[in-house]
């Protein structure tokens, strides 16, 4: 074989890529896009592919960053790290991204050696995190789990910072309460250590009004109306035995891959598999199972077989509800057509059929498992997607308060306060920050100024309508004014 020879191009090395003009301008554009989205009065962005694809209107970093396709490696690194933050904490994506951009911009202006700048910024960051965790911190409030006030406020500020949800004040209150209730549903009643939070599933429903949203204990499975009518209304007073299948029960045979299967005439593979399915059905009947849920398709004959034996059979549940279902029922998802081990079965307390909007649901009520479903209604797809994401974020934020029961003041307060603190300390006790690192005080002043103004301009980014931000340098207070 002949190999193709091509003159190798020499590798290009760019020194200090951040100083390149092109990088600066693209960074400025990115910053502009993100800054304009920030806060409750942030502007929205229409994301679409320009050739008639679906339009997404959003101001949330998770959606924005997912769809931004940047070319320069520096921006790629920046976006990837912000996305990483969002996947860990859900919240504060825009905060992180804007602070990044601000810091890069400000530090570059100082013209200090990169190593020094990095060292000092790390020091300042350390100082900030230590201060925010310390008892003396003036901008944090302990979360009081005995009342709903702070928790509700927290949820409300997450929701209101996403203007594309298009919620009125009343609707924000309604959804906040629902989110808090959903969160409380996931806390197990028993106080075994370690406490494992339960699951809350969010189902988005297009059509009904936002105020029709609700939260229900247990799991809702959407099923076509006709199928629901056919399920037998057998009600038992005792708990119902559940089998949960993650494998397909549709009766197709496993893929032979590259090879082929040779069967002799008059042997029907389909019938062979169907026999196997019916055998499985017989075992379910003899094991007194009441409810069979299948992630994929169930063969119509098996379904009928189960129904004639008064077993409720629901197929095409989908992959998302499998984990919550397993949690709610205690059943292990069954992955084969072989004999079922009795330990795989789970149980539920009861079931209902429910209708919301034009959709029909099968509602499973667990014995005591902390699983709940948040049913979010909204007028159309655009707004529904945005609201669902906001609610997921709010739920995550609530879960994080269990780990660290503190909240910080919002609306730019914390940033302004931190900046004031840093300024104060670098003037009065620079040694506390420097700690003999071999940097001069002048260098520290420069970097501290860059750092503080990055924080302050972040707080100022909350303003989008020509108002002015006034900061009290001494006490670190922050006002917005009309000019």
């Amino acid at each position: 074989m002949m190999s193709c020879l091509e003159a190798k191009k020499p590798s290009l090395c760019h020194r200090e890529p951040l100083t390149a003009e092109k990088v600066r301008t693209t960074l400025a554009v990115l910053k502009g896009v993100l800054t304009s989205c920030y806060g409750p009065f942030g502007r929205l962005k229409q994301l679409h592919n320009g050739v008639g694809g679906s339009v997404c209107t959003t101001s949330q970093s998770a959606v924005l960053l997912r769809n931004l396709s940047v070319t320069h490696p520096v921006l790629k690194v920046l976006i990837a790290s912000v996305q990483n933050h969002v996947s860990c904490f859900s919240d504060c994506g825009l905060f992180t991204a804007i602070l990044c951009c601000n810091l890069i911009e400000n530090v570059q202006k100082t013209n200090l050696a990169t190593a020094t700048a990095i060292k000092l910024n790390k020091r300042l960051l350390n100082f900030c995190t230590n201060y925010l965790r310390s008892e003396s911190c003036g901008c944090r409030i302990p979360v009081d789990f005995s009342s709903t006030q702070i928790l509700l406020c927290l949820v409300r500020s997450v929701l209101t910072s996403k203007p594309a949800c298009m919620l009125t004040r009343k609707e924000v209150d309604h959804i906040s309460t629902l989110i808090l209730r959903a969160f409380l549903f996931t806390i197990p009643e028993s106080t075994k250590n370690p406490i494992i939070l339960g699951k809350s599933i969010i189902i988005s429903l297009k059509g009904p009004r936002v105020t029709d949203s609700t939260v229900l204990p247990g799991v809702l499975i959407e099923i076509p109306e006709i199928q629901l009518m056919k399920t037998l209304p057998v009600r038992k007073s005792s708990a119902l035995k559940v089998a949960l299948f993650s494998t397909s029960l549709s009766g197709d045979f496993s893929d032979p891959g590259e090879g082929s299967v040779v069967v002799s005439y008059r042997v029907s593979l389909e019938n062979a598999v169907l026999d196997q399915l019916i055998n499985l059905g017989r075992q379910l009947v003899s094991d007194h199972v009441d409810l069979v849920l299948c992630q994929k398709v169930m063969h119509p004959s098996l379904k009928r077989f189960l129904r004639t034996h008064h077993i409720i059979a629901i197929d095409r549940v989908g992959v998302t509800p499998i984990e919550p279902l397993s949690k709610a029922t205690g059943a292990q998802p069954i992955g084969s057509l072989g004999p079922v081990s009795p330990s795989s079965y789970g149980s539920v307390k009861d079931w209902h059929s429910a209708q919301f909007g034009c959709k029909h649901f099968f509602h499973l009520i667990p014995n005591e498992a902390p699983v709940c479903t948040l049913l979010l209604c909204n007028r159309n797809d655009t707004v529904a997607d945005e609201l669902k994401l906001a609610c997921q974020t709010a739920l995550h934020v609530l879960q994080l308060t269990v780990k660290e029961p503190w909240v910080l003041l919002g609306g730019g307060c914390t940033e302004t306060h931190l900046a004031a603190c840093i300024r104060h300390t670098t003037h009065k006790e620079p040694g506390n920050i420097l700690q003999g690192e071999g940097c001069t005080q002048a260098e520290l002043q420069l970097i501290a100024e860059a750092f503080c103004s990055a924080l302050e301009s972040l707080a100022g980014s909350l303003e989008h309508d020509g108002g002015e931000i006034l900061t009290d340098m001494k006490h670190g207070h922050f006002w917005s004014m009309q000019d």
Binding site: K45, L75, A164
Partner: protein, 704 residues
């Protein structure tokens, strides 16, 4: 990837929105003008006469166009009505918002005040709600039912006589108030006689007495009820029309409104100029009610109009007089089956319901056929027949075994099988709607199966009768097919047969029928309607004018609307901008009313209409209580504002009604759309290389 700033000087998105909305102006109000949409590429054209169909045909690939389309579709999917209102208001309010921007109002304040204003309007219009209660209490079912039984008890009809036919719509301007616009049977003597002719005199007398009353039309309605002997038992006036006092907070003038307690009144009020469709809907409701009354135990549960049991069947080519509603399912079969139908009718037949396709190769959804399977013949002699033939024979044997003569299939059917079955008087009908299958399953006791091989005795339903819908040779369509009617005793399914001599109008007719049906459905479900004829919009308009004059109360959080953060300067400067924004919001409604008056041809120009609206708004605002003013005007015979295009003979003015939730939701969706576009400042085009966007579009783009 590129992003484009869209509101540098003027907001491009809002401009696009208002220009899109302009296209739907002609569909506003009861007098609608149709449009031809022509594709310049292939010279094809379609006739549209509703907003939904219009947007389907327009190129809405731009971002704003798609958002608008999404909003209209969502409204239509949920309510089936209100799409035109949504479209028009979206346009009117985007202009209003542009005006606000021009005046320098900050965006968060526009968003907040406008949504607060609309909320306040939605609360205000509650005063114009009319309760719809006990509509069916006055409809004594036994008589109607026995009438129906007489008909169905006789030999199975060959023609329309069983169906409830709707004669040509009676003009509202006719002298005699017409209630008896339908009859249960065309055969004299078997009519259930809902209405006694001699009652007319009585009614006339009543009318003259009550004419002096302010509420002429309402009371006349009541007297109309006396036409029916079923209503005669209610001698005292209060029995039917219970005054529902409200608005007493308005002081001096206390007005009364009456609940809507009669299906005819409700249907006429909700018909919005489409009487013929509405008469079909009304007949369908009646039919369903009678059917429900025949069911055992029907007395226990109150009757609910179940729209999921209503189906339409379009027959283009026939004159409109053939439109009617029938109990049962109507479908087309090939003319070659005529002999078989002849054979099958007059006897109950057994039915099988198949969920999927009825073909040899069909496998249920989710079944993956493996391609790597080879069949070998180890010395066995292969039968001569193909597998298709074998399968068809097997099916035939099954059908004979269970003596089944009718198979309803949701999917496709093998032509070969249809042909084979035809010779054995076995009728197979394919592509049957899932809801129809479900209804037949309930009515016949059949169980739907995926494969015909699953059929056993328990799955077979019985008691279906099949007849020609009309004389088969009368109305053959071009494809040589004829309509047949399938029904069972007490089937809850109703089919509305829609006919039109003009094929292009068929779609429009069907759409209008459904719009009417859903209006009645919503009104009955919600048990309330609005006073119609743009009374609610007028109230909103006057209410906003009053609201704009009122000073803002300190600590009034409701006024902050979406302005959740009270510490911002925006909250403190809200009061100064509020009147401007509210007036702009009111302008949207002003445009709506003017366009409506213009469309109904009451006014020749938009300006004239606008002046007229302005005059009435001023009066309403001056009166101090707009809702009282509206009620007064509403009941006035020739005020011209709420009784559009109707003769000035007092006894013929029907009340106009509007559905409640769909209307308010349409407003809200329209405003939400406008505010969503308003808050958008950048359009981000994803996934495209710079080269792929053409240079003309690139203007004003920034790149990442």
């Amino acid at each position: 990837m590129a992003c484009r700033i869209i509101n540098k000087r003027r907001h491009v998105g809002l401009q696009q929105l208002s220009s899109f909305a302009e296209t739907g102006r002609a569909f506003l109000g009861p007098v609608k003008s149709s449009k031809f949409i022509t594709d310049e590429g292939c010279h094809k054209s379609v006739l549209v006469s509703s907003t939904v169909r219009l947007l389907e045909s327009l190129d809405t690939t731009s971002a704003v166009g798609q958002l608008l389309n999404e909003a209209v579709q969502a409204q239509n999917d949920t309510y089936r009505t209100g799409a035109t209102t949504l479209l028009f208001l979206a346009g009117a309010w985007s202009r209003a918002v542009e005006e606000c921007l021009h005046l320098g109002v900050p965006i968060p304040i526009i968003v907040s005040v406008m949504s607060e204003g609309l909320n306040s309007c939605s609360e205000e219009v509650v005063s114009l709600q009319v309760p719809v209660h006990n509509i069916f209490d006055h409809m004594d079912s036994t008589e109607a039912v026995s009438g129906l039984e007489t008909v169905s008890g006789s030999s199975l009809p060959q023609d329309l006589s069983e169906a409830i036919s709707v004669p040509e719509k009676q003009d509202l301007k006719d002298d005699v108030p017409q209630l008896a616009t339908y009859s249960l049977s065309e055969k004299p003597g078997k009519s259930p006689k809902f209405f006694k002719p001699q009652a007319t005199v009585e009614a006339g007398k009543n009318t003259s007495q009550t004419l002096k009353n302010l509420h002429t039309d309402t009371c006349f309605r009541k007297s109309v009820l006396i036409h029916s002997r079923h209503f005669k038992r209610t001698d005292n006036n209060q029995g039917i029309c219970t005054p529902n006092r409200f608005l007493e907070q308005c002081g001096a003038a206390t007005f009364q409104t009456y609940g809507c307690r009669d299906l005819v009144e409700l249907a006429v009020g909700l018909s919005h100029g489409d009487g013929s469709s509405m008469q079909l809907v009304e007949a369908a409701v009646r039919l369903q009610y009678q059917n429900a009354c025949m069911q055992p135990g029907s007395r226990a549960a109150p009757f609910m109009f179940d729209i999921s049991r209503l189906f339409t069947f379009c027959l283009p080519g026939l004159p409109e007089t053939f439109s009617c509603v029938c109990p049962g399912y109507i479908t087309l079969v090939s003319i070659s089956s005529a002999a078989m139908i002849q054979e099958l009718q007059n006897r109950p037949i057994r039915v099988v319901l198949i969920e999927g396709d009825l073909t040899e190769s069909y496998r249920h959804l989710g079944f993956n056929k493996s391609t790597h399977i080879k069949t070998v013949l180890d010395g066995v002699k292969l039968q001569e027949d193909s597998s298709e033939e074998l399968w068809a024979n097997h099916v035939l044997q099954l059908l004979i075994k269970f003596s089944v003569n009718l198979i309803l299939v949701e999917g496709n059917v093998s032509e070969h099988l249809i042909e084979k079955c035809r010779h054995r008087n076995q009728l197979i009908i394919g592509s049957v709607n899932g809801r129809v299958m479900q209804t037949f399953a309930e009515a016949t006791g059949a169980v739907q199966v995926a494969y015909i091989t699953q059929v056993n005795e328990d799955c077979v339903g019985s008691g279906v009768s099949v007849t020609f819908w009309r004389n088969p040779l009368d109305d053959l369509d071009r494809s040589n097919r004829m309509a047949i009617l399938l029904k069972t005793e007490g089937i809850s399914m109703i089919t509305a047969v829609l006919t039109s001599p003009v094929r292009a109008q068929m779609q429009t007719k069907e759409d209008r029928f459904w719009t009417c049906a859903y209006r009645v459905h919503h009104a009955l479900k919600e048990e309330k309607v609005f006073l119609g004829g743009s009374a609610v919009e007028f109230l909103c308009l006057s209410h906003l004018h009053i609201l704009a004059e009122q000073p803002l109360q300190k600590g009034d959080h409701a006024c902050l609307g979406r302005l959740h953060d009270t510490s911002s300067w925006l909250a403190s400067s809200l009061a100064s901008y509020r009147p401007t924004v509210l007036k702009c919001l009111a302008d949207g409604w002003h445009r709506y009313l003017s366009a409506l008056l213009c469309n109904t041809a009451t006014y020749s120009s938009e300006l004239e209409a606008s002046t007229f609206v302005q005059h009435h708004v001023q009066n309403a605002v001056d009166s101090g209580c707009p809702s009282a003013y509206i009620l007064k005007e509403y009941n006035k015979l020739n005020s011209g504002i709420f009784n559009l295009g109707i003769s000035n003979k007092p006894e013929q003015i029907p009340r106009v009604y509007d559905v409640v939730t769909p209307k308010i939701e349409a407003w809200r969706r329209a405003l939400d759309l406008v505010l969503l576009v308003l808050q958008t400042d950048t359009e981000i085009i994803t996934g495209l290389g710079h080269t792929q966007i053409n240079s003309q579009k690139l203007e004003g783009c920034l790149f990442l």
